[in-house]
Symmetry: C2
Subunit: 475 residues, 2 copies
């Protein structure tokens, strides 16, 4: 069955203006609509213009918009900060784009229960700055935290570099107020840590990429802010010895680091050359950057030194523990500039988000080499070693034509994803499927698994008006 | 529409015997069937006999059973150890009871990835004993761990006393192989810590009380086992000052205890009298038992002493830190014997599982007093103060007749649940709805919220054959 969506006409726009006020509707103005046509996916072929942008200020306004859209069969795409990396906020079928930018209030910080209630448009880092003043923190830690909205974090179940110790966003969400595609407003959970009252709709909604509902209130669990944090870097001869160190630290020392970042040889060589720091990493075929946090700085430093010793005993080439902020900066520099170094080679790239069991990261490296050689592309591998989430990036060589690249990329991705699946992994650890990875979903999920997801979508959204065409297409 | 379930006849029993072997089918033997008619809910009116008990040994056998049941419209109830507290494993409509007791193997302990793969019938504590030998542990911690199966933990999203630091069972499940009501076998997740490939079906299945699928493989995340653990007890004048200490510890000291148990005055008085230890708790109107764990015993002891000081500065009457195993035992004795003390008064009880935001526990106490006075029952309140999950228990006074009790209890529960909702809480933190609390669900969830859960049930189980009548009734 082909869904027949309605075009947004003047009558609809008037009705939308009546709901949110004319100042908060953008229509018939290509220049103002354009920023809402894409997220942070580099490839512009994934962009699509909305017919109208609407900026509600409350759950009630949002409810009225969805009731209208559901009645008139107009697709609705929710959008946070637009920092997504899988095209989740792109209005694929045109229609109404709902921006949550005006719903940006921290409604409550409840220090007694260590819970905050936020509207979806709060910027993650702004919120963290606010709670850190109280000695608390929100442990969700996406890399885009200076820009991204908490609503988007929840919609994508954002991860980041600290999942090994702190888990991902979903762990910290105890309640959601959500507007369903029908326009109905519901609430699941609240300020309680435990709740088994019926199905866990909260965790189903988290990571559903804006296809099941739009959040209007988010209950976020807070943690006491650790008083100290220390970073260290360890150089290894190759990926295998670097990754072997991860379970050693956890099993032998019984320490869960805050984060363990990894860079393979090609990432390290390219980035250190880009930074003119090749000498620092002489002989290294892989590095780990390890973060520890806790309340006792001396103890953490001691633990870092012990980790260094342990790694050196197991064949590491060298280890540095940061002695102060300047050192921390030096340690992170090479990791922070990896994306930039490869953009200097070519801005035409596909940033991937594969995840494998940690112990299989070393097996991934030769497979990436094989695939990149076969297709004549560059494929560095760096990312979150602690949780196996690797941002392997397919980079076009400067000499390759765009036409050839467009033909090559899908072949590279397919081979990459099949290899990842064979290693017990999957195609997205934190960026989501969106429409960027939609066609590859059947490579890692079976028909039955996808079918049950489609049925859930239909249970929430029988008219398929909310963010249609994301994750999968309905038949 | 009234569902017309088929009666299990000899032909069906033969077919079931063909699937699992005749030794693993119990039929037409009331004595052998009886143990499968109830879980640990005290009230026998919640019991119901199965028509046949089947014990499959594999996902394939279970798949064949469900295909048969789905085809013939026979209800199927999954059962783990039968340690549940909400009637979840009771075969309400008769039919087939599937026991997972033969699927009891630890399939793999992967020390490199800190993941284990278990069949559902593994006893939680047996598994923990096994991984502790490797310096690891599974942080799910239900109180029934010496008896309960991991499959039941996952089906109920079991909690326990350590949720404040370690969360509940769901946090540790990274993958599930599950047989759907249709008999199809699917797998979601695996050994990966991060995964946003489509909807989070894993977390939807966790806590779904055996109504959406039956688990056949469970991927469990392991943690490094802390090297040390110390308990302490703090006596307070009243509930308010006890509960006020909880955010103080977390905010001022930035420590998340492993667990914080609470007992109110009536629990403390009754249990200490039962134990002949009334003198020890002279003047105390509430106690907290606080557990800390970590790798450095000296540091934890220091932290315990600091917590003691902090509490005394804020009006606590007394504080004890355990100096060894004998002390630990002494500290826990009063909490461990609370249930027994009230059973000595009357075995006729309703064990409740309410949860409120921690800061509202003190408001709960006078409400419990008011309700119990009004209805002339006893209602002690003790439980997991760290996460607000209180096992308030309605106890019949010895002089009350059973007839009067049967009339009183539903009124007490309704008033209790309404009070809990008004305090931002809900009716079950870890035991589940099952059929014990089914009729009260609309007190805490709205029509829209329940409707979406029913639609999800229908998406998974259109014939409503899997554990029907639990959580809610389908129309």
């Amino acid at each position: 069955m082909v869904k027949r969506y309605q075009v947004v006409d003047k009558k609809i726009v008037e009705e939308l203006s009546g709901i949110v006020g004319p100042d908060f509707v953008i229509y018939d103005d290509a220049e103002k609509l354009e920023p809402f046509s894409h997220d942070e996916v580099a490839d512009t072929s994934f962009a699509k213009m909305p017919e109208v942008v609407v900026k509600p200020a409350s759950a009630e306004e949002l409810s009225a918009i969805l009731k209208l859209a559901n009645r008139e069969m107009i697709p609705v795409t929710p959008r946070g900060a637009g920092s997504g990396l899988s095209g989740g906020a792109v209005p694929l079928s045109g229609g109404i784009l709902v921006s949550t930018e005006r719903m940006n209030k921290v409604l409550e910080i409840d220090k007694k229960n260590l819970v905050a209630i936020l509207e979806p448009g709060v910027i993650t880092n702004d919120f963290n700055d606010e709670v850190q003043k109280e000695g608390l923190f929100f442990a969700g830690y996406p890399m885009s935290l200076e820009m991204c909205y908490i609503g988007g974090n929840v919609a994508e179940n954002a991860g980041g570099g600290r999942a090994i110790k702190y888990g991902v966003t979903g762990r910290y969400i105890t309640g959601l107020e959500v507007v369903l595609p029908s326009g109905e407003i519901c609430t699941f959970g609240g300020k309680r840590v435990k709740d088994v009252t019926g199905y866990n709709i909260i965790q189903l909604l988290i990571g559903s990429e804006g296809t099941l509902g739009i959040f209007t209130k988010i209950y976020v669990k807070l943690l006491p802010l650790p008083k100290a944090k220390i970073d260290m870097m360890v150089l290894f001869e190759d990926a295998q010895s670097a990754i072997d160190a991860v379970p050693l630290i956890m099993n032998t020392m019984r320490i869960i680091p805050t984060g363990i970042e990894f860079m393979d040889k090609i990432s390290l060589d390219t980035t250190s050359e880009f930074l003119n720091e090749k000498k620092r990493y002489q002989g290294a075929g892989a590095i780990l950057i390890i973060e520890l946090d806790g309340n006792d700085a001396d103890q953490i430093r001691e633990e870092c030194l012990d980790i260094g010793e342990l790694c050196l005993d197991h064949g590491a080439l060298d280890a540095f523990v940061a002695e102060g902020p300047a050192d921390q900066e030096k340690i992170w520099k090479v990791r922070r500039h990896a994306a930039e170094a490869f953009k200097a080679i070519s801005p035409v790239q596909s940033l991937e988000d594969i995840v494998v069991p940690v112990s299989n990261i070393p097996k991934l490296i030769p497979l990436l080499e094989k695939i990149s050689e076969k297709h004549n592309v560059i494929m560095p591998c760096y990312g979150h070693a602690g949780d196996g989430n690797m941002h392997a990036t397919v980079v076009k060589k400067p000499e390759q034509s765009m036409e050839s690249w467009d033909q090559t990329l899908p072949l590279v991705l397919e081979e990459l994803y099949i290899a990842v699946k064979e290693l017990g992994g999957t195609i997205s650890g934190e960026h989501g499927i969106g429409h960027k990875r939609k066609k590859y979903l059947p490579l890692v999920l079976g028909d039955v698994e996808i079918e049950i997801m489609k049925k859930i979508k239909q249970a929430f959204d029988p008219n398929n008006i909310l963010n249609p065409g994301k994750i999968f297409d309905l038949d």
